[in-house]
Symmetry: C2
């Protein structure tokens, strides 16, 4: 029975276009409740999720995601946040002194938040919904925080756009699993080995098109010069570091 679920997850794909069909509120709640059964650090559940369903709400938060079509065209946006606000409030009313304004606590929060988000993603996909992670969440966290009125100690980490798929999404390629899995110790690669690892990816029609359209010599240059260039990474690193500090972390 669960073999069927594993088969489906083996062929899952990200959905970026959605129909007008609404996600039932009860279904959404159930999936979130089941997702919260996923593991977390010390059972402290240092996370929250903000559900954006209203058109006004989506219009407020979508610019922070560069108005990408998945953000504006989905039925529901779920912003998953590290949340120490709730736990520390509980500490305050219980004469306890929390010591969580540091990197370790922030990391538990990020890990637990992502586990929760990914469990939701999986449950949603198994329920016939489509999802798309918006990686822009760690870029424009200050704007997202303002739009969602996130208080002190709450930091957005990932966002899922959710809805019913308007397309049969295409499975994307993955590197050979042998390049990801190391036995007993990390196995460094030779130059020839690394070329082998990326050979199939480099030779996809889509990859060749990326290289050509961007006037680059190699696919790697499309990533380093166009898609994820140093200046953008460094700019948004500073924005996020300042933002985390403003929320009382490391």
């Amino acid at each position: 029975m669960t073999t069927d679920a594993i088969q489906r997850l083996a062929h899952r794909a990200t959905v970026r276009k959605f129909t007008d069909r609404k996600v039932d509120d009860e279904l959404l709640n159930t999936l979130l409740e089941v997702a919260a059964k996923a593991p977390n650090t010390g059972n402290m559940q240092q996370y929250s999720v903000i559900v954006t369903r209203s058109e006004e709400g989506k219009q407020r938060v979508a610019p922070a995601h560069f108005n990408q079509p998945a953000a504006t065209g989905c039925d529901v946006l779920l912003t998953f946040c590290v949340d120490f606000n709730r736990f520390e409030h509980w500490c305050r009313v219980n004469d306890a002194r929390p010591g969580y304004n540091n990197l370790q606590a922030f990391l538990w929060g990020v890990i637990d938040t992502v586990i929760f988000a990914q469990q939701f993603n999986t449950l949603a996909e198994l329920s016939g919904l489509g999802c798309c992670y918006l990686g822009t969440t760690t870029y424009n966290a200050p704007a997202i925080s303002a739009a969602l009125e996130l208080p002190d100690r709450v930091v957005p980490v990932v966002t899922l756009a959710v809805g019913y798929p308007a397309e049969e999404p295409t499975e994307s390629d993955r590197l050979p699993i042998e390049s990801i899995v190391h036995r007993e110790k990390y196995q460094p690669s030779t130059d020839a080995g690394i070329r082998d690892t990326y050979y199939e990816k480099e030779n996809l029609a889509e990859s060749r098109r990326f290289v050509e359209e961007n006037n680059k010599q190699t696919l790697a240059q499309v990533y380093t010069d166009v898609r994820y260039p140093r200046d953008t990474n460094e700019h948004f690193s500073k924005v996020y570091a300042d933002f985390i500090a403003s929320k009382g972390f490391c």
Copy 2:
């Protein structure tokens, strides 16, 4: 069909005791391969997993996990790592200049690594295996790195202990889902509200036992004074921050 999977995930629980039964290598590979189909940032797959199966290997890495029984008693330890080594090696042999020695890149790595780990966790649980996250990974990362010979640009984030369950694990409690889910905007809690949120948790037999055994007045104090105290958090924050820097991140 997948309803069955959702039902199982609604009642999942962490397994900390394992039988001697071996996890079949082919099953392990298949689950890792399917897990890698989970979403990741820009399809860059900035992660690796080190599989520790040998007794010597487990003995090398278990002390970094304080020799907790799940670490020493499992069949397989999976150490999931942020890995920019592979991608940057590919960049180097392709005349591309990566700009990923910063917080944003590290965060993509952490997010993608945790998504991959959690997808494995779910697939393993659906296959009848039991898993336990070892939160000690971000504490003793330098020792783990040494034991697994992790090169530059590779940072361990989470570890899963995996095997066949020797016990019917107990489902653990969760906060009421209404305290986790916020509609449209973050909904701050009143003092009375926060007491309600934690009422059930505080009154579990286990919680009452924790408070008594540790000579504390409240459950919150068990967390802040005993389980996750400030000095430990601050110590390991510094260790991890130095370690990340030594691997060439932020």
